[in-house]
Symmetry: C2
Subunit: 365 residues, 2 copies
Amino acid sequence: MTSDKPISFARGAPSLDIVDSEGLRTSAQRALTEDPAGAFSYGTSGGYGPLREWIAERHGVDTDRVMVTNGSMQAAAFLFDALVDDGTEVVIERPTYDRTLLSLRQRGARLHAIAVDADGLDVDALATELSDGASPSLAHVIPNFHNPAGSTLSADRRTRLLELAGEHEFTIFEDDPYTELRFEGERLETMVSREPERVVYASSFSKTVCPGIRVGYLVGDPELMDGVRKRATNTYISPSMVAQAIVNDFCRSGAIDSSIATVREALRERARTLAEALEEQLPQARFTPPQGGYFLWVDLPEGSDVAAMFDAAAERGVQFVKGTDFMLDGGESSFRLAFSGVTPDEIEAGVGRLADAARSAGIGD
Amino acid sequence: MTSDKPISFARGAPSLDIVDSEGLRTSAQRALTEDPAGAFSYGTSGGYGPLREWIAERHGVDTDRVMVTNGSMQAAAFLFDALVDDGTEVVIERPTYDRTLLSLRQRGARLHAIAVDADGLDVDALATELSDGASPSLAHVIPNFHNPAGSTLSADRRTRLLELAGEHEFTIFEDDPYTELRFEGERLETMVSREPERVVYASSFSKTVCPGIRVGYLVGDPELMDGVRKRATNTYISPSMVAQAIVNDFCRSGAIDSSIATVREALRERARTLAEALEEQLPQARFTPPQGGYFLWVDLPEGSDVAAMFDAAAERGVQFVKGTDFMLDGGESSFRLAFSGVTPDEIEAGVGRLADAARSAGIGD
């Protein structure tokens, strides 16, 4: 690899080598042969029936609680259309996914940004905010391998968050696209499985099948889902039945299990390589090694000029996303590194360039 | 066929026998083999690059004028989000596609409903409305094989409509999903090809490839398209690359041409069978035989109770859509018959039941 080859830690997307292209081709052929009527005709806005049933079984819920969409961001957009108006109070995490932040701001939500630490959302800070008069109707939480923070909401905090939601009568939006990508530690129970009337759950096949297929889903209260489905009908009649029929075959044939195993193994190695390279080459970086997912969040010493480092990194052919992109304010000395799209070799070379960029931006040890 | 088998003239969708299932499987296999990176990765909100280019070439425009979406209804929704606010004046046709009507009403548009006759939108009536002070910023027009009216906007009226749009400075939304389905007469020039700065054009692959793939597109002013693409990015990042890569192969391999030939031939026979059956069995029906598309619009003598006939038809296992569904008011003695999803045998049997339902609803000769 020449030092000129661009290396991107910016985008939360898998490299093609961890997508099961052959399995997807096989599933396409089988799905389009076995159910041409279902794949090629208009469907309903709830999604392709057999996939909807597969998801319902995985979650142990009735099918009318499930709705499958063209990616989970589209699912979130429909949900926000249903629940968020101008002035609606919404709890968000700080930092949080930049697209969610934008989506809520565009709808005029009044945002309460609550800090995320190594154990996820700071529920004590949320409790204080609620005592101080915040009256949210919705709380957006990314419980596993947070984007961008990398951290996971602990079991105790899940319990506490559900209690607060009950006491203060708000809905939790459990936004969980990375859940299958755990490469260390024990899987934690979802909040939706504990309080199905209090939580709307979203997940996606972007990280377990592939992003280009654009299939995600919601699990929630049947009445709320009914309203969301009506919005979907009025927007696009039905999502892509061809895409969802392919995903359905990929799931039911078991290809998804080997795909997940491949992805987890690659991410484990990439995360370890990244952590080691940072410790060695950028010792001023503070971070919590993630237990899964795509992201590692780096805090540099207060006062570090990450904006200048960003420009210096770009000159050296390496990209990341600045911390400020994930917050309403603050984040100037932090940034997000995605390790999903880069090989271990690229990670080592990329961190070398980052360290050089940091020096050039006057960020000392 | 027993007389009990339900027959639906309700849904504007093709029967599976006129979908090229084998061609779609071949295109899926080839597209996912030749460009896995493009099909399986996140794309951009403008759509799958090669398909966008193919559409741009077909329209003889630059690629930045084209945006490919998850179906053309989604395209219309983005466009309305960009152009229609509470109180925006919009010209619609009377009758018009029920979902467009709903979509515009939900956005709070002030609607000017202008009649459609055998030559499409009554441009003289529109001119009068404009003289009387209507000040629309948008006019929604279905120029070919209208849904639900079945008629086609004549060449002279297209010219006049473009003149009115220029004089009164409104944008024409040329909504043209049926254009390839002409089975009689000469193809007419699109309005967007004559006045690209005045017209936004939408079409779809639902009628030429299949509906379940959910691929449609817009052609319009690059600046407007840029704004629409931003909305798409914020809603779903990118449309289904897998679906669009399959459509791209289907188009470029020439499969689409034989598919269109098959569909046209079937529709020609279905439309002729329907017209003959109506003349014979429901002589009180007045209609203009369509030159293409999916729909035939029936007017019954004034005072005919189509709502009662609808119920009587349902009892006899036959469905259609009432005229009232396509208008803000009126349409009580009219209805829409879709011949896209029924075989000639079903059409003959279905019209027999319709005639029986009309008699039972007191609709005489």
